[in-house]
Amino acid sequence: MIKAILVFNNHGKPRLSKFYQYFNEDMQQQIIKETFQLVSKRDDNVCNFLEGGSLIGGSDYKLIYRHYATLYFVFCVDSSESELGILDLIQVFVETLDKCFENVCELDLIFHADAAHQVLDELVMGGMVLQTNMNDILCRLQEQNKMQKAEAGISAAPARAVSAVKSMNLPQQLRDMKLPDLPQAIKDLKF
């Protein structure tokens, strides 16, 4: 069983968190913090398995993580999961995100955490691996997004127009004149 899936950046800011066992919000934040502290002090060329998280699980559980650019993807799993299998699963997850967002970066996850959750829901359900074939996952996601688009129909057009204008909001653009934001704005333009 997978107990939790956490995505956070190099500074420990959560970008996506999914707990398959209930913890209250404070506890969740503590777990993220502890996990970040454990994971972040490790070099990139050491192994991807980590034992000794005290808050979540216990001796039966281990953390399996991968570090991509600015993001850590951490899965907390028990002994019924294959360690190397989970590493592959993280790879599948990230590749799927990459396909969905076209060159995924941290900003995609910041602004579209809901979309990332949808990807995750097709990958893992209730702590168990659901589907590992990336093409199947993409196909499911496309169909669902199509449904959503069909529902929005004509009435969604003005809303999207407004949000596009908002995204172009020049003073704001100037204020956070971070380079990564620009392609984001452009992407938002073409729907």
């Binding site: 809901d114 209730g126 659901l130």
Partner: protein, 992 residues
Amino acid sequence: MALKKVKGNFERMFDKNLTDLVRGIRNNKDNEAKYIAQCMEEIKVELRQDNIAVKANAVAKLTYLQMLGYDISWAIFNIIEVMSSNKFTYKRIGYLAASQSFHADSELLMLTTNMIRKDLNAQNQYEAGLALSGLSCFISHDLARDLANDIMTLMSSTKPYLRMKAVLMMYKVFLRYPEALRPAFPKLKEKLEDPDPGVQSAAVNVVCELARKNPKNYLSLAPVFFKLMTTSTNNWMLIKIIKLFGALTPLEPRLGKKLIEPLTNLIHSTSAMSLLYECINTVIAVLISISSGMPGHAASVQLCVQKLRILIEDSDQNLKYLGLLAMSRILKSHPKSVQAHKDLVLACLDDKDESIRLRALGLLYGMVSKKNLMEIVKKLMMHMERAEGTLYRDELLTRMIEICSQNNYQHVVDFEWYVTVLAELTEMETSAKHGAALARQLTEVGARVAAVRGFAARECAALCRRCAGAPPGPASREVLYAAAYVLAEYCQEEAVMRESVSPLLVCAAVGGAHMRARAVCVHAAFKLTAKLLHCYEKRGDLDAAISVVREALAGLRPLLCSEDMEVQERAHNATALLSLLLPRLGATDGDGDLPHVVDGTLVDHEQSNGLEKQTNGENVNGEESHGFSGGLIEELVDLFEGELKPVAPKAQKKVPMPPDLDLNQWLSRDHWSSESSSSEEEADGGAVFAAPQPDPRPTAQFTPEELQMLREARRQEQANNPHYLKDDSPRSYQQEDVPIAEIALEVPLQIQSKRSDKYLISKESSKKTKKEKRSSKKRKSKKDKHSSESDSDDGEESIRRPAVDAGGELPDGAAPSDDEPPPPHDDPHRALDLDLDLPLREEELLTSRIHQYPSPESGLLAKKSKESKKSKSAKKESTEKSVKKKKEKKSKHDKKVDLMLSESTKSYVNEGWLIDDLSKSNEKTATKASDNDKVLIDNHVKSSKTEKNKKSKRDAKEKDSKKKKSSKKDKHETKIGYEEALGISTPSKEVI
């Protein structure tokens, strides 16, 4: 209407959506909390509006805030509203929020039951899929009970996507609602052979999870899995199946034998490392379960170890880690084959990755032998010096102690070396926690190894002097606690004792309040003084005696007003006794110039300490004078006579309760005062207050075998105990080489090496010279004491190490091997421990429940107990018969069922697929059984199901079998009862 909708949309355009929220938070980095509080207010306003789009927007924002750690449980009702929208877009938002924030104990969850049922039965597969995904995160017992049937229906949906999700969902249902497992199991089994690989994989996944906790119930599925394993090419599924086999083989060794070949083939053929690794793991599990005696057994071990070596040597750190992990599993059963790769493991100790170092450390435990222990520990000591990070340091120290002390110090040949290592570790002054661990070791070695006591005492004396000289570090403070004890208890050398009295008393004065060793130091100093006085008395050296008493008294004086109560009290005691002694010494001596005057304050203290004085007085009165203190010194030494022996860990629990002790009896004042102490009257008194109750705890009574065992154990103990005279016990040390006390302790000769290294060096040098020594006959006695020390440790000594006292003291008649029953723990999987091969009962079938709340009769237990009462009278007759037949069948039965296997089982254990003909025929009979029989079968089935119900049945049976039976036997009864029921038709007719 349409206009309103458009208007709503227009309004919405200018609301803050999720993107705006995120952007806003990023722009307000400095006052994030304030900004979010403001947004929360906006969201609350939005949630109050009627427009579902606005609400959905608000809920989406809430979901984001939840991730940041804000509690959103107050919005549960709004989230449910959004979930119940007809639009897929909003449903998605709602279900996402629900899956993130709801949990099984959330309030208002029952509001969702019908909505979720509607979604589950929706036309669109994605709506149903969404509901399943969401539900998997927050399903509760009530939801599971009410929706189990709907989810079961989805398991046979035409759409593979839904089947897959429903199968996985069932696992969550089982966890919350164990009653669903039996009715759903046939379907789950079916899904193992589903045409869609995804569904198959999901079913395998679920069964694996179930079987991990209760493997014995799933043995019957082994053939299906075996087929899947040999045919499937899906690595994900193969991994799961192979893991499952790993869990099953310990229960069925024959399965393991059959598995070895295909697994070995897979190991040779697969290119996927993950699969290879799991195969190796399962082969290891098989090898452990079948122990040895199988052809090709050694070859399999060899293959595994070889493959693992390749993994460990790989440059990929992940593979290295896993390789070490698997190695540690082999280590438990086949230490020899792992030991061959010692070089590899030792190399891993130098790895830069902490995870790998920790794993390698774990392996070291099995790698050490008498020969290489010193080397390995030296290496670890070096790591200890370099190590950063408390976790690794902690682990290092614990492991070091563990590998040295394992199996009653099996690998330690030279205990002087070990004591030195302990002393060096103390000198590193790491932390109090480590100090405590070291202190335990020091005490233990002192207690168990008589031969090293003299040396240990000297080391401890050095430590005490060091602590007295400079304020001790955190580790020393703890170790001092043990050092003071060991020093005072075991020291035999006069010079060492004489030198230690003052330092000990100085130690007692320093260290501050949190040093628990202080009181022990006072006591130890007093003890040493007493021992010294004894020596001097024997020798008649009065001057020395007086000087030591004076020194002790001077050292004790500052402690008389110590802020630590215990230090103060002990100091007073010691002072009182010693100052009583001092005039005696003066008096018997008759030498006028010796100062008789005891410090005035001390006399005061002595007088205030009336009790102490009195007891001392008695002692003196009882003795006729001999020696120069009139027997007082003898008395003093007597206080410390006797050896403290190690106590076995469970000794306290094993103390048998005296049969006449009744803790429930009143300790009534009347009773005590009015009655004299005659036993008759006491018994009467007991009758007045309460009927004498049977002793709640079993007293130890022994069968002849047990007595035999105990005798054997004692003989063993005598063999190990150094205090029984044995001519070969090598403790030349303490008697003969008193004068060389200094050399082992002080500054090492080489500058960079540690003190403990000399043992290693001497060992190596001895190896070189071994041959010539052997040829030149045997060494004659020790003329050079210095060399004798190292000599005695090599050669014969390497084989013949000092005797180590094993075990510990137990109350008379208690056997050390008794195991405690494991404490019960709370695990949802225990409820899932159900027999899946029994036929289903009608009332077990899941029906769609319309009612939201459980009606009283739907409570499972209530129903059962009712029924069991109903059929009790009828059953009684049948059980009587079955008990009779049971005895006949018993012998036959025992052959079939492996007792080890069934130790913890409560229900029928299928013999596994290797003899599935038998179980098939059983099934056939089961189906053949007429409807009339079914009622009776049901009774038996039920009784095997829950513990409680079992009891009710046992009640009926107890009439036949007077004595209470152990649960193991009970299980046999249920099982046999079941088989009986198949054959007997008459009693069942009576039921109807």
